[in-house]
């Protein structure tokens, strides 16, 4: 099975991410399935960056320990990543900057000779790698042309010069007999899923690793027919989203743990005022500022329990861009159907890594919520069978829409009467039962691998990538709840039938999913936890799981 891994490394500011994107697209063009991890410190200049790209005919969703090619633009990169080379691997480096054991190419002098900017070494490097692994110039040419708009000709000449420096291909990355797939980051998939389900107003204060959603939607505002807004802080973001939703627009906010912490008063306001808002929470290592540009799955219980009071909510944790696309759309539609807050829980790994995207794009769309039929006097909080009161929006003739953060009667007027307090809370809680029923017909739990395996890996979110691959190699089963609240306990239990050993795999230090499952009477036998800010590599998880089950 073809399975190639590459590391492109350099200093921050060397254009490593762009070089990675070019190479990833080149490989995607040859019909490979791609996973691309963008590793960068929380600095703009001076730190060490690298792109790790894996390409295979298997749908890879994490990286491998050993790589085929390391391209280093600085000496540190050559030393640091050189040791990850397979014995058959190659180190390419910029011989204008330093000396190393490998194939030196004067990338700096190419750029100088052709009159480019220093950062354009990255394009020369992509040319050189392509020649080294036997990718034809035609492919390089169209990918560079497709992705680089500014100084397109100059970049192309520099790429060509890099390409020509390697006169002999040392490997042959063959074109696969398959369909080419687009590449997408998790954040982009979240944005697109929301847009398909009618997102019209996205409001966010920048915070890594969620900012990509804001950047993407701001760029494609007109194509997607929506408005993006960057306000003074996360509190303003969520409250503005609530105001927008009250007025009838589908709104979404996004942040990471620290910003989401500020939004929790809004979570509670959504619940009391029954205003639908979608929250994207992209996790990074905490507590506090933690490690801004790395990954963790440490905020599950924070999100599950955020906001004062008893709150009905939906929490989904997609594991890859396809799930992110579909489940963000579901989150939006369900939020509006039940007038609740819905949370899309992601992490740095899913948010900022690039994957092959298999969805067509029309799998999901707008679903109509329960609207007022125009009969009789409108009451925003009308008691109904399912607890969902019909929606009308301000601006509607003969209608007064009164929403509130206080406990209230059906018309939205403040109340402190014991009977009304109980009735209104019961009304809101009712919605959960109907939500549970609706979810029971959806694929809230993904089951992968060998159906009758005795050993199951249980995971959530982006950790599924490593788990699926390891399960396929070791003939195990994977159980991945995508919905975490209301927790699909019954479906997880069904999936666990015949399993005698449950191994929890999570990227956090306390086993958040394992704790959640134990509330539902499911106990895991083993926990494999990783909390150094990096996702599991496939080899690392393979070793850990093999050890546990041997």
């Amino acid at each position: 099975m073809p399975d190639y891994s590459f590391i492109l490394a350099g200093k921050a500011g060397d254009g490593i991410r762009q070089a990675g994107a070019l190479l990833a697209h080149l490989l995607a063009r040859l019909n490979y399935r791609i996973y691309f991890w963008d590793d960068y410190p929380s600095l703009i200049r001076g730190g060490h960056n690298f792109s790790m790209i894996r390409a295979s005919d298997y749908p890879v969703q994490t990286f491998a320990d050993e790589v085929d090619v390391v391209l280093a633009l600085d000496e540190f990169g050559a030393q640091e990543h050189g040791r990850r080379l397979k014995s058959s691997g190659y180190l390419l480096y910029d011989s204008d900057g330093f000396k190393a054991e490998g194939i030196g190419i004067g990338l700096g002098s190419i750029v100088k000779r052709l009159g480019g900017k220093p950062v354009m070494r990255n394009v020369a490097a992509v040319g050189a790698i392509s020649a080294l692994v036997g990718i034809s110039w035609e492919n390089v040419e169209s990918v560079v042309q497709g992705l680089i708009r500014r100084d397109a000709d100059l970049n192309l000449r520099i790429a060509r010069a890099g390409f020509e420096q390697v006169t002999e291909a040392r490997m042959k990355v063959e074109r696969l007999d398959d369909q080419p797939l687009p590449l997408l980051q998790g954040n982009e998939a979240i944005a697109l899923g929301a847009a398909r389900a009618g997102l019209k107003l996205y409001i966010a204060y920048p915070m890594t690793p969620a900012s990509g959603i804001l950047h993407f939607l701001a760029r494609y505002e007109d194509e997607l027919g929506l408005v993006t807004y960057h306000p003074e802080n996360e509190i303003a973001a969520v409250i503005t989203a609530i105001g927008g939703a009250y007025a009838g627009a589908r709104t979404m906010v996004g942040s990471s743990g620290g910003g989401f912490a500020l939004m929790t008063e809004g979570v509670s306001l959504c619940a009391q005022s029954e205003t639908p808002v979608v929250f994207v929470v992209s996790q990074r290592p905490g507590p506090s500022t933690g490690v801004p540009t790395y990954t963790m799955q440490g905020d599950l219980h924070f999100v599950l329990n955020s906001g004062q009071g008893d709150i009905v909510r939906l929490v989904v944790a997609p594991g890859d861009p396809d799930e992110a696309f579909v489940w963000t759309a579901h989150a939006m539609n369900l939020a509006w159907k039940y007038q609740i807050s819905a949370f899309v829980l992601t992490d740095k790994n899913l948010s900022e890594s690039t994957y092959s995207f298999m969805s067509r794009g029309d799998e999901v769309g707008w679903e109509e919520p329960k609207l007022w039929n125009g009969q009789g006097e409108y009451k925003r909080y009308l008691m109904t069978e399912d607890g969902v009161s019909p929606l009308a929006f301000p601006g509607t003739k003969n209608v007064t829409v009164k929403a509130t953060s206080y406990e209230h009667d059906e018309s939205g007027i403040t109340t402190e009467e014991p009977d009304r307090i109980r009735a209104m809370q019961a009304k809101r809680l009712k919605k959960r039962g109907y939500l549970v029923r609706e979810l029971s017909s959806m694929e809230t739990v993904k089951v992968h691998g060998k159906r009758d395996a005795r050993v199951a890996l249980v995971c959530w979110g982006s950790t599924k990538g490593a788990c699926f691959e390891v399960a396929d190699r070791l003939d195990l089963k994977v159980i991945q709840p995508v919905v975490l609240e209301p927790f699909p306990a019954q479906m997880v239990k069904e999936a666990l039938e015949g399993v005698s050993r449950i191994i929890g795999v999570e990227v956090n230090s306390t086993g958040a999913l394992c704790r959640l499952m134990s509330c539902h009477g499911i106990s895991v036998d083993e926990q494999l936890l990783k909390y150094d800010g990096r996702p599991f590599s496939v080899d690392e998880l393979l070793r850990s799981v093999s050890q546990v089950i041997s």
């Binding site: 697209h25 080149l26 995607a28 063009r29 169209s142 497709g146 369909q179 080419p180 687009p182 997408l184 697109l192 847009a195 398909r196 389900a197 019209k200 107003l201 409001i203 494609y220 194509e223 997607l224 027919g225 929506l226 408005v227 807004y229 306000p231 003074e232 802080n233 509190i235 303003a236 409250i239 503005t240 609530i242 105001g243 927008g244 939703a245 009250y246 007025a247 009838g248 627009a249 589908r250 709104t251 008063e265 306001l269 794009g361 707008w366 929006f393 301000p394 601006g395 003739k397 003969n398 209608v399 007064t400 009164k402 929403a403 509130t404 953060s405 206080y406 939205g412 007027i413 403040t414």
Partner: protein
């Protein structure tokens, strides 16, 4: 014309003599006049924070969002961004707007979003029974400052002028006709309009005597003159002996934030589902 009742069935729980009654009746009067001028009642949305002031939304039969402490500006910003046809008016307390939520107030003024903010400035936390606020005078004794407040008060008008508000006014709940007139101007102003309404709290900080004696309506001020606006705003910095000018301190017309941000879109009405194929496509 007006068949709609503007009151609700909610029981009014303000203390007898509370300055909030003046604001309520002024606003009710404004609503009637705006309706008579052809503004449909259903296009009006009011919002409030948390405090005695905030109960006003329960007492008026129009669209409303009873929001949370300090968050009136983002609440109505969201409403305005979603539906440009709505006229949105926020009612907030001095603790609410100048304490808990001051960043939102400043930034809304800076952006010039087309909303109106009416601040019920009673220089005290009414609902939580009498603590000092950002506008309480130095030495104010309340339950959290039994030895007297050790902080100088802020001057909200100066802050609003410095933040870029395009309509800045001060009124007194005891001067009803003036309040009605200025409120109407503020609501019809295209852009961020701000009124600091001096509103005596009968129970925790009775300022009727001071306001009745010290307030006067400016008749010699040009509201297009920013420098003069600053000067007039500084006439009263909370000191007991000064005269307190009322009226419109500043007014200017500038492009509004919501128009510039939306660029013709109307998030609450646009219903299209985008085709994402042009954005997501394999590399050719």
């Amino acid at each position: 014309m007006r068949e709609v009742k503007l009151e609700t069935y909610a029981e009014n729980t303000w203390c007898k003599g509370c300055g909030n009654f003046g604001i309520l009746s002024a606003f009710t009067q404004v609503l009637k006049e705006l309706q008579d001028q052809g503004l449909p009642l259903e296009s009006i949305v009011i919002a409030s924070g948390i405090g005695c002031h905030a109960k006003i939304v329960d007492y008026i039969n129009v669209n409303s969002f009873y929001s949370i402490h300090g968050r009136v500006p983002p609440t109505i910003t969201g409403i305005k961004l979603a539906n440009p046809n709505l006229t949105v008016i926020g009612f907030a307390g001095d603790g609410d707007a100048y304490g808990e939520g001051i960043s939102h107030l400043l930034m809304s003024a800076k952006r010039n979003i087309d909303i109106t903010m009416v601040i019920h400035n009673n220089q005290v936390y009414g609902l939580t029974t009498g603590q000092f606020t950002p506008t309480s005078p130095l030495g104010f004794t309340g339950r959290s400052t039994p030895r007297g407040s050790i902080e100088e008060p802020i001057n909200p008008l100066e802050i609003m002028l410095a933040s870029g508000a395009t309509f800045v006014a001060r009124c007194y709940s005891g001067k009803l006709d003036h309040l009605v007139e200025v409120m109407k101007q503020a609501i019809t102003h295209k852009g961020f309009a701000f009124i600091d309404v001096l509103q005596p709290c009968f129970t925790f900080f009775n300022t009727y005597k001071l306001y009745n004696q010290a307030t006067y309506v400016m008749d010699d001020h040009d509201p297009s003159d920013l420098e003069s606006a600053y000067r007039r705003a500084r006439e009263w910095q909370g000191q007991a002996e000064a005269k307190i000018p009322l009226g419109v301190f500043y007014k200017v017309i500038k492009p509004t934030f919501d128009e510039k941000l939306r660029r013709g879109k109307a998030p609450a009405h646009d219903k299209g589902v985008p085709d994402i194929a042009s954005i997501v496509k394999p590399q050719r």
